[in-house]
Symmetry: C2
Subunit: 471 residues, 2 copies
């Protein structure tokens, strides 16, 4: 009978030790495939342990498949010759060896970063957020555990629909709103909804990330050139696009606001054939500094051809991953039919807190505060630039909305050299040309100045570094 010395058992449970001994012998071939193991009781007596201990050891060996049982006959060793063969043929994995610690958690350090939209931690409403979280956790325990519908919890969708009515003049039912963990995620969902056989068009220049997302999802994606009003119907038709992805209220990075006549031309294009849609990416409409917000195209469309998207990642913090899209009725029906098996990607905790945050008026206050802050930042930065030595050799453009403006310079070096030069002195900037499909076709030497991500105290240093690099 099998016998093991139990003296060698060190720091493991007795049943685990016996399990390990038998497993080792089966793997080494000492116990051959098909060998009958002793009965639990006899084996226990032989080892001087309780039957339960052997039972537990056999149980674990059974669970992992090293032995099997035959009813009323007993336990047998499994044929594991394939394992030995596997290990002899396959070299060990490189595992940790030679795998340098990834540096994605430690990006290059800059003393001033004019590319970031990162909210200043002074601006995030931590106190209110913490208070609402506490209330939600105290008062909504049942609801917090209830699975949300694919589109998100009703309370948040209702809050957003009321917000859209009040601040964007868009009248939508909460059911048309789909909540998701960031617009990037929602783009992926839209591709599943509209179809991978469609041709998607994005603006050139524009966020390259949007293009990358379409490509990464194997959807055909084309760049549409922009004239001074935005994308033209002629180009869209020439490129055979079905779905047009634009930011008519405030284009990044050019700052273009699409005028009303061009908007209707595009709506007419969308109406003139089936399956055409316009994705209106309204990512920073909250940040217009003068006058009323520009109306959304969604409200202009008579025939449900516009999908409206917006996000709280710009208005709250990029690290709070909540965005939404508003679907026309036809697409809501299709969404319910084809995609409602998905779970909503935002946790209930944050959905309930955000719903309260909007409904109790904190969001409006926060937006006003943010807008004032950004205006102040912009004004201070522009004032200091205009009083600096580069005032005469630079020109500021598109400063009326959003979280950035353009700074045209008269440099002779290439944009690539410029970015390297600024980086070397600790200033991170981006250039307009980086947002073009072909950077060589782009206006050169035009910096994009994102001012929402730097603190007021950093502005003099930012201007000093700008003077150093473009002066």
């Amino acid at each position: 009978m099998l016998t093991y010395s139990l003296d060698a058992k060190k720091g493991v449970l007795l049943y685990e030790y016996i399990y390990e001994c038998i497993k080792k012998d089966i793997l080494s071939g000492k116990i051959k495939a098909g060998t009958k193991l002793p009965s639990k009781r006899a084996f226990a007596e032989n080892l001087g342990v309780s039957t339960v201990t052997v039972e537990n050891a056999y149980g674990q060996l059974m669970a992992e498949g090293y032995i099997y049982s035959e009813a009323k006959k007993g336990y047998y060793a499994t044929d594991v010759t394939g394992i030995e063969e596997y290990h002899s043929k396959n070299t060990t994995s490189p595992q940790m060896a030679g795998f340098a610690r990834a540096n994605d958690t430690e990006p290059q350090k800059y003393s001033v970063d004019l590319t970031s939209n990162k909210a200043d931690s002074e601006m995030f409403p931590f106190t209110i957020w913490a208070k609402l979280l506490r209330e939600v956790i105290n008062e909504k325990r049942e609801e917090l555990m209830d699975k949300a519908p694919a589109g998100g919890i009703f309370e948040l969708r209702r809050a957003i629909s009321e917000h859209l009515m009040q601040f964007r003049g868009i009248e939508v039912s909460p059911e048309q709103i789909i909540i998701g963990a960031g617009t990037e995620y929602l783009y992926g969902l839209l591709i599943q909804l509209l179809g991978r056989d469609k041709i998607y068009a994005v603006e050139n220049p524009g966020y390259r990330k949007i293009y990358n997302i379409y490509k990464s999802n194997n959807a055909e994606c084309v760049y549409i050139p922009m004239d001074e009003k935005g994308a033209t119907v002629a180009d869209i038709e020439h490129l055979g696009a079905d779905v047009l992805h634009i930011s008519p209220s405030h284009h990044f990075p050019t700052g273009t606001v699409m005028p009303v006549d061009r908007r209707y031309e595009l709506l007419k294009w969308a109406n003139s054939a089936g399956g055409r849609y316009i994705i209106e990416d309204d990512y920073d409409s909250e940040f217009r500094f003068s006058g009323k917000p520009v109306p959304a195209m969604f409200g202009m469309s008579a025939n449900d051809k516009v999908i409206y998207m917006n996000t709280f990642t710009k208005s709250l913090a990029s690290t709070v991953r909540i965005s939404y899209m508003v679907l026309p009725f036809e697409l809501i029906e299709r969404f319910k039919e084809n995609l409602s098996f998905y779970s909503c990607t935002v946790s209930n905790f944050e959905q309930y807190v955000l719903a309260d945050f909007i409904e109790k008026g904190y969001f409006e206050k926060h937006i006003n505060r943010m807008r004032n802050y950004c205006r102040k930042q912009r004004d201070a930065l522009i004032k200091q630039i205009s009083e600096s030595k580069i005032a005469g050799i630079t020109e500021i453009k598109e400063e009326d909305a959003g979280l950035h403006f353009l700074l045209k310079t008269r440099l002779n070096i290439s944009d690539e050299e410029l970015i390297k030069k600024t980086a070397d002195s600790g200033l991170r900037i981006s250039c307009l040309s980086q947002y073009y499909e072909n950077p060589k076709d782009a206006p050169q030497h035009t910096l994009i100045i994102n001012y929402s991500g730097i603190s007021e105290a950093k502005i003099p240093e930012a201007v000093r570094l700008l003077c150093e690099c473009v002066g």
Copy 2:
């Protein structure tokens, strides 16, 4: 010169009123395309308002594109004839009319639900969670605003890697771990990583949702039949699969634990050609009731062929959307190259809280508490069934792990009728056959009893309803 009576202005700002008047006249054609508008100063004098008011009105009209300016000449009305044409051709949107209030927020009510994995709100560690949230909000304001790497914050990835080492015996570097808002989202990411040209294989029976996700992402997906040990290499090769998606530690719904010999056969298959991978979906490995956890295949693979996935949606709450995958080194490199442009889909707040929750030992305690709770639930339910009138005509199977067991009955009605019958009496159940590609090929009259989602107090009612329906 343009003249408007300002008496009609009601409750709107003066500039807004002037803006509305001019806009209306441009849209109606009263002010024709190309007409020069009065200069701001002259117009202001004429209306008896300040120049700033006219400036604001013109500014808004400019922003929306109803007028345009020519340098040193003045302001002109835009050609908006396309708008009239658009509205005359397109009927008004159905909008809210006829759109019944979606009922996705109000699902059918059951008195007992044996299909749900919803955590009992008594079980969720609200107090600890709230405490950690408070600490994170107080102590990590800067970090909360810092954009996380695509794979998630380092602290959470490190906590998970330590947890995997301690509880699954898997040694991985934090950089191999990718955090995402639910496994469903991560499947979509994996398709982008591995390619849409691959053939993905899922187990039959199994979660239909996984199949749906592959299909919705236009990836070819095939069902692999299971024998008593799981999927076979013969079937996988016959169906030409490249990527095998399985749950070897505990298959849902059959409860099968894949034995060690079959595991190595599958690893050998994965090694024998390039581009082959095994996705190990370890969704409920925390809930094994007897013995040690079954080792993960990830740790057995010598050649980086296994992608490990797990989720906190089962162990914490389905409404906390945090899951992760562990990529082999080669795929981590590919992920960095191709997909690191994505933002992590889980908000920093929840990532930091979960990291603390794991690192401070609360997760281990919670899992133990959950396991005990589930074991108690299971024992009580099985005991009450075995003492009920259906004890003799039913058989309980696969009760050793996870959050469900199978209840074989001797009914003569179809599974469809059975589900309807139970639903009518307020009991929600699912049948094994519902998880088969072709329900007719499946074992009939076998109920899946998910016991994690009902409270202890509900067990007698659950058993009473079961007796009523299957007795």
